[in-house]
């Protein structure tokens, strides 16, 4: 009979509880994360829910050929890249800009109050924000009245392929730009006040302080955030798009995630939808790895 070494027995006697503590979550992750990863085999199947991952017939690359030959999928990938990149770039620039301005505000209660207003939308779901937006963008809604007041034609923001993307980008700023500045404000607070005092003695004005001290001071944070956002350029933002779009704007607003949802769960084209999902997961994975490598190299970032 195989016998455990006494050292191993002592180790287990002392530490068996550690394994037991890990077990429940590990099991959950195997079921709800790793099993679905295995389930990606359905991208190569003509998937039949009755037969499951193991017995559905194989179709090789058939689903991918259909995806790439359809006019829809390339368009959807394009929309995703455009919307996600525009959101990342505008979001970060606005967040940096806001942080620099807030950092110059000395009246603490005023700063806190306005921060509270700007952070608020971050805590609300896109269902709530979508409901509010549909209301203010409705005919005779808040925005419509504003347009009337300054004498321009009312625009149907959510029903026009010209206006859908700008609306998505701006409403994303509404929800996240205030929140996004927190990380830059933290970096600014960490800067040595002596730098600012010395600059003041040398006669630097506000603009010079921002330009020569604040911006260089948060540059490492800017580089880090920029590197990490690379992993997000396939994230068009399902919650936002799904609660704002409609068939009229599929041409400019449909993204990979909404496409996967409609193909898979509405039209029951499971294999095709899973293939589109696999495409996104694989490219997204590679992008995240590259972004972590860059973040590690240029900003010394480590996840754990």
């Amino acid at each position: 009979m195989y016998r455990l070494k006494p050292k191993t027995v002592a180790y287990l006697r002392r530490n068996w509880m550690l394994y037991l503590m890990l077990l429940p979550t590990l099991v959950l992750f195997i079921i709800f994360s790793y099993y679905p990863m295995y389930g990606l085999v359905m991208a190569f199947q003509k998937f039949n829910p009755g037969l499951g991952f193991f017995k559905s017939p194989w179709v090789g690359m058939g689903n991918f050929e259909r995806l790439l030959n359809s006019p829809t999928f390339p368009r959807v990938v394009g929309n995703t890249l455009i919307i996600a990149t525009a959101k990342l770039v505008t979001g970060q620039i606005t967040a940096i800009f806001l942080a620099l301005l807030f950092n110059e505000i000395r009246v603490v209660w005023y700063k806190r109050l306005i921060q509270n207003f700007l952070y608020m939308p971050h805590f609300l779901s896109w269902v709530v924000l979508g409901g509010i937006l549909m209301e203010i963008l409705a005919p005779m809604g808040l925005i419509g009245k504003l347009q009337q007041a300054i004498g321009i034609e009312p625009i149907v923001f959510l029903g026009s392929n010209t206006w859908f993307r700008p609306t998505v980008i701006i409403t994303n700023l509404w929800k996240e730009a205030g929140w996004g500045m927190i990380i830059y404000l933290a970096a600014l607070t960490a800067l040595d006040p002596v730098l600012y005092e010395a600059a003041a003695i040398d006669g630097a004005d506000r603009f010079q302080r921002i330009w020569y001290i604040s911006i260089p001071g948060i540059l490492p944070t800017i580089i880090l955030v920029a590197a990490l956002s690379l992993g997000d350029i396939l994230q068009g933002g399902f919650d936002q798009i799904f609660n704002l779009y409609n068939p009229t704007v599929y041409q400019t607003g449909d993204i990979i995630d909404t496409f996967v949802y409609r193909m898979g769960l509405v039209q029951a084209q499971y294999g095709l939808a899973a293939a589109a999902g696999l495409f996104k997961s694989v490219i997204g994975f590679l992008l995240i790895i590259v972004s972590y490598k860059i973040a590690e190299k240029y900003a010394g970032y480590k996840i754990f």
Binding site: L28, Y38, F47, E135, A138, I183, G284, A299, F304
Partner: protein, 292 residues
């Protein structure tokens, strides 16, 4: 010149304070507008007379909503999923982060386990296979579909990093007193990590409160929809029959005002918790993001 510089700085301040104030107002304006609409009557809303103050003030919109049985049902589903979901996921996060916070020498296999969790943050099976798994486990239309997958690898890693900062001497002293791992976790690690745990708990609570998509795809019976999913059928799909009210009653009211009131009712708990949320979420951002 010194004078010239002071003038430029003063000018900058005036513009800065004003600009920030305007931004704050713009961010809040849509909410204020809808809030005013929710207290206004039909004719005023349809005529577009409501801006930031109710016109023909009425509580009727709220009265109608509180008479609808559907909203109580949805509210109760959300409360259940939030309470159960937060308690279970926080408990599991704590007992998972503890062994992972040990060194690979103390806990053999630790690095492999950490990677198993981290990998799920990098790669995912995606929506369709996930849905099929939930379905094949028979979880469709049960509240467990909204709860069990809820442990977040991100929270586990964050808490693990926090646990690593717990002073070793405390733990060694406890071991000498004969404490086992379970006791060390609950008597030393957890009390020392209250700020981090409070942050993670609030994150999880807001996540559960705001979640709507899982309810929409996993609940085949709309009577089991959580609040946000239910809200979506009313304010996004514009399905007033979901309110389950007398048609004449709805006609008498502005549906827009009704939707406004509905949105605010579902948001009340977030608004009440907002001061805490804000503070702890900011802490969370700093814990999670600003390292290295």
């Amino acid at each position: 010149m010194i004078r010239e510089k002071d003038r430029r700085n003063a000018l900058f301040d005036v513009f800065n304070y004003a600009f920030i104030g305007v931004l704050g107002f713009v961010a809040l304006a849509p909410m204020l507008n809808l809030f005013a609409i929710s207290f206004s009557d039909n004719s005023a809303v349809m005529g577009g007379y409501v801006t930031f103050w109710p016109v023909n003030f009425t509580l009727e919109n709220y009265a109608v909503i509180f008479k609808s049985p559907a909203i109580y049902r949805a509210f109760s589903v959300t409360v259940q999923r939030t309470v159960l979901g937060v308690v279970i996921s926080q408990f599991l996060t704590i007992i998972t982060a503890y062994p992972l916070a040990k060194s690979a020498r103390e806990f053999k296999g630790r690095n492999i386990f950490v990677w198993l969790f981290v990998f799920t943050m990098l790669f995912e099976g995606g929506l369709i296979p996930f849905f099929m798994v939930i379905r094949s486990l028979g979880l469709l239309n049960t509240i467990w579909a909204l709860i069990v997958p809820g442990v977040s690898a991100w929270s586990v890693i964050l808490l693990m990093n926090f646990f690593k900062e717990v002073p070793q001497e405390l733990e060694e002293a406890a071991v000498l007193d004969g404490a086992n791992h379970w006791q060390i976790l609950w008597k030393i690690y957890v009390p020392l990590s209250i700020p981090a745990l409070a942050t993670l708990t609030l994150f999880a609570a807001v996540w559960h409160w705001n979640a709507w998509f899982d309810g929409m795809i996993f609940m085949t019976d709309p009577n089991n929809y959580p609040l946000q999913t239910y809200l979506r059928t009313v304010v996004i799909d514009l399905n007033s029959s979901a309110l389950q009210m007398d048609v004449r009653q709805i006609d008498a009211l502005s549906q827009r005002a009704l939707r406004g009131a509905m949105i605010f009712v579902t948001t009340i708990p977030i608004m009440i918790l907002y001061p805490f949320l804000q503070r702890y979420f900011v802490t969370g951002i700093k814990l999670g993001a600003v390292k290295g």
